[in-house]
Symmetry: C2
Subunit: 211 residues, 2 copies
Amino acid sequence: MCPLSPGKRTGRPRSAAADRAILAATRAALAEQGWGRLTLGDVAARAGVAKTTLYRRWAGKNELVVDAVAALFEEQLELPDLGSLEADIQGVVLRFAELLNRPETRTALMAVIAEAAHDDALRLRIREAIVDRQKHLVVLGRKRAQARGEIPPEEDGAAGPERDNLIFDVVAGAVVHRVMVSSEPVDEEWAGRLAVLLVVGLAGLHTAQDP
Amino acid sequence: MCPLSPGKRTGRPRSAAADRAILAATRAALAEQGWGRLTLGDVAARAGVAKTTLYRRWAGKNELVVDAVAALFEEQLELPDLGSLEADIQGVVLRFAELLNRPETRTALMAVIAEAAHDDALRLRIREAIVDRQKHLVVLGRKRAQARGEIPPEEDGAAGPERDNLIFDVVAGAVVHRVMVSSEPVDEEWAGRLAVLLVVGLAGLHTAQDP
DNA sequence: GTGTTTCGCTACGACTCGTAGCGTAACTGG
DNA sequence: CCAGTTACGCTACGAGTCGTAGCGAAACAC
């Protein structure tokens, strides 16, 4: 998750405290100013760090913000075990929505995704730092549900991963769209309806493909 | 969809051709440069228009891009009648994905949504120019399905609109997430699986709430 | 100590922003 | 045809940001 080249040994080491201060300052500035008015000079000043230090560690605004948001996701996002697939989905949806409701993430996530549309390296960085971690939750949730006997066990072929991908896009996409575009609250009721839709629909997907 | 104050009469009228040229230039610049490197000076030069003319009609980058994208949505997005709810969903998903795959919309949509996170006026503008038009397709699709007898007819209470909103967030969110975040193709197969998931899940939502 | 790397600081040219001022073009009402 | 009104193209401007370079001092490994 860190900046550049970790494999050096001699000379003065980079201050890890500065790293944390910079990422925290980035989130604070994002929350106040939003993506558009965010300047690296302001971030440096908040972090008590010279502007040149920022440019030594990150290539630009995009990379810095990705790391700042990824740190939040890493420490906040996990899959609670609530006893049933439906409850698990509802739980993780509520957690994800809580994360999306922070002012830092609201503006930052969409902005870096927009920039990634024409920047392959940035897209890869987002995938590794944020998306793969989310997708892992889907795989974990499916395995738990299979262990409980709620859905049929693993079959071979490409149908399994494809279904995981579909579920991931539906869950994450629906929550993001609800929060960012419709700008309506993700409460227990809405999360519950989404969970029902998914569990029932998932069963339909199985019967539709296995004759 | 147009700029400011439409209700004047005296004096030289604003050139409608300039409007179209500016919006087209904005889309072209977006496709080439992306949101981050897009400058209003460049747009003005492409459109063969003075920079001051741009600022007379639009408040800034955000508003201009919203209108430029909204024009695309207006002329491209509609709901085909393919004979069944499942086929209709699959069809509109494919159309929406086609729109999202254009380089202009890829970077522009996410960027304006990001800016709207801390700009209420912009969020309202996006809603009126883009979102409401999309949501209308959901309502239309539901009414068609009810006329065909595929789903139960209208009930009273707030359950109906709530269900429309859920479907809207799931469909639009899933497609956006698939294209922008997972960056994998929305082909007939994927759209078909999403349609099955929704139709089956929708039936589950009805039986879960009507005892 | 010696060598190496990072740090804070200052300064810089290049660029974009959004606005103001001016003379001209286009259209309206008398 | 002629004022009145508004939009247009052009130029120029201060303000702000960007990303980089150069410097001396500080923090580590050997």
